[in-house]
């Protein structure tokens, strides 16, 4: 599969008052048509910055792309003009926002909000756009789409609104879909339904999808491949199965260890509590010289403090940035 979206050495620089630092450093990954790549990391790991950079929505001049290319269909989005971006956004790249409560215009009915995008990019007239929106509402499983078309956002529940947000992102059949924590703001049962809808539609549309999340359960259910980010860099990248079966980076290992397992609750560990990763994420402007994870890593040695490990192949299709990767099933 040829990649549809290819990020190469992307670096996002932040300038805050007197200091300048990189929020995302030398990020490279690809996403193919129909594939779901999950970007996983803690707050501040740079995953949302990456999404904003791809959409070219960074709050300039505070944040800017200082290096790298974002290749989409032979066009470098990092250098594209505002006019060409406008014809791509919403039309060929859709973004699903995190907050369904605030990402819809409160003074506009939901149907026309979605129809607006269709009329803008596909040149549909009002009647055709309305029919198409009702179809999409049906697809995202909004009950009674004909009536819901004329609802205002405040007349809908959070889950319904998130379905509208998904409908908005998918309205023009985009080639690339970016979902920034699409279920974080919802309660758990709604989350499951929305994820299911999302997965079905993503498969139907065949969009290359970047799923940004901190929730490994969501990853396990949805993603084909996973890239784990730490302090602005990818530390490990492989298929979802391999990541859960044989994590190579100690950070990934720690993350997986911090998920509660109901099955294990019966034979609880001696302390009866979740494993956690000691320490906190280092400040991006005061990163250690070597591996950023070294201060928290149980396996760190002298070399980790001196030299930053490159992202290198551990096995075919499995990259990790660690001098002393985890052993085990590989």
């Amino acid at each position: 599969m040829t990649p549809l979206l290819s990020i190469q050495d992307l670096t996002v620089e932040l300038s805050a008052r007197d200091r300048t630092f990189d929020a995302v450093s030398d990020l490279s990954f690809t996403v193919a048509r129909g594939e779901v790549l999950a970007l996983v990391g803690e707050s501040g790991s740079g995953k949302s910055m990456t999404a904003l950079a791809i959409m070219r929505l960074l709050p300039e001049p505070v944040a800017r792309i200082s290096k790298g290319r974002i290749l989409f269909d032979e066009l470098d989005l990092a250098a594209a003009s505002e006019a060409s971006l406008r014809s791509i956004r919403g039309n060929r790249i859709g973004l699903i926002f995190q907050e369904p409560m605030t990402s819809l215009n409160p003074s506009m009915r939901v149907g026309p909000q979605v129809a607006e995008a269709l009329r803008l990019h596909k040149g549909l007239d009002a009647a055709a756009a309305r029919r198409r929106v009702e179809e999409i509402f049906e697809q995202v499983r909004i009950p009674d789409p004909k009536r819901r078309f004329d609802d205002y956002p405040h007349q809908m529940s959070g889950g319904m609104r998130q379905r509208v947000v998904i409908a908005l992102a998918l309205a023009c059949d985009p080639d690339v879909l970016i979902a920034d924590e699409p279920t974080t703001a919802l309660d758990v049962t709604t989350q499951a339904q929305i994820l299911e809808t999302f997965r079905d539609l993503q498969a139907a549309v065949g969009a290359a999808t970047i799923l940004i999340t901190h929730d490994l359960a969501v990853v396990a259910e949805t993603a084909d491949r996973v890239a784990v980010m730490y302090a602005g860099r990818i530390v490990e990248e492989t298929t979802t199965e391999r990541l859960f079966a044989a994590p190579q980076h100690p950070y990934t290992h720690g993350l997986l260890g911090s998920i509660p397992h109901i099955a294990e609750a019966g034979r609880a560990t001696e302390r009866g509590r979740l494993a956690e990763i000691p320490g906190t994420v280092p400040a991006l402007w005061a990163l250690p010289r070597g591996c950023a994870f070294a201060p928290r890593c149980p396996r760190a040695r002298q070399r980790c403090e001196d030299e930053r490990p490159p992202l290198s192949d551990m096995a075919p299709g499995h990259r990790a940035a660690c001098w002393y990767p985890m052993k085990g099933a590989a």
Binding site: L57, L85, R89, F97, T102, N105, L120
Partner: protein
Amino acid sequence: MHEVTPARPARRRRGVNVFLWLGVSLLAVFALLALFGEVVAPHDPNAQDLFAMLEPPSAAHLLGTDNVGRDILSRIIVGTRYTLSIALASVLFAGIGGVALGAIAGYFGGVTDRVVTGIIDLLLTVPNIVLAIAIASVAGSSATGLTIAITASFIPPLARLVRGRVIELAQEDFVAASITVGMSHTRILLRHILPNAATVIIIELSLNAGQAVLIGSALGFLGLGVQPPAPEWGTMLGASREYLTMAPHLVIAPGIAISLLVLAFNAFGDGLRDVFDPGSSS
């Protein structure tokens, strides 16, 4: 008898919006007078009767007559049109100008914002009376000059209000969402930001209309607006100043008319605020 009333969610009862109804009904009366003044008026507002000068209220002249024997009630009724149209025109133009300036400054920010804010601050330094005098001395006193002077004094505060609201709204997720859908700035501003600022703008404008009546009357009183013999209320006040001790009804009648119209606009504005924004107290 088994009559089951289905449980209804207790709807929070709000009292009748007295302000809004007071404002709407007063404004409706004034609007009708402005439209059909000549028909309703018992006398010709400009017909002089030198045998009935400065007459106190009577059956023939309900509000009495002025210094040349014109019927005051008729003059007030016909004069509604001047006051109301000056108020509405200045509010309309101030609305267009203030919203445009404020929206552009707030949305685009940066240099644009600084330039527009500079213009607004400059406008703020000119008192409306000075501007009215300047216009009157150049183009002669007229309703148009009056309207321009009032408009100019309303634009800066409105532009500031709109600018603040637009800056606030531009941070909202749904604005970012409309960018990700690929909309142009104009479209985002007109379709997604300004409609959400509409309530603030409408309330401010209806309160401004009351102000416009007051300023218009004051400038008319000073002889800077509509010229006699046109029955504009402020002008009528100014002309009857000399007869204050002999015939106080000459001053009281237009004074009450002005107060009622101001009250109507203010009550309307406060009522609207209660409707749109129940949290804040008026």
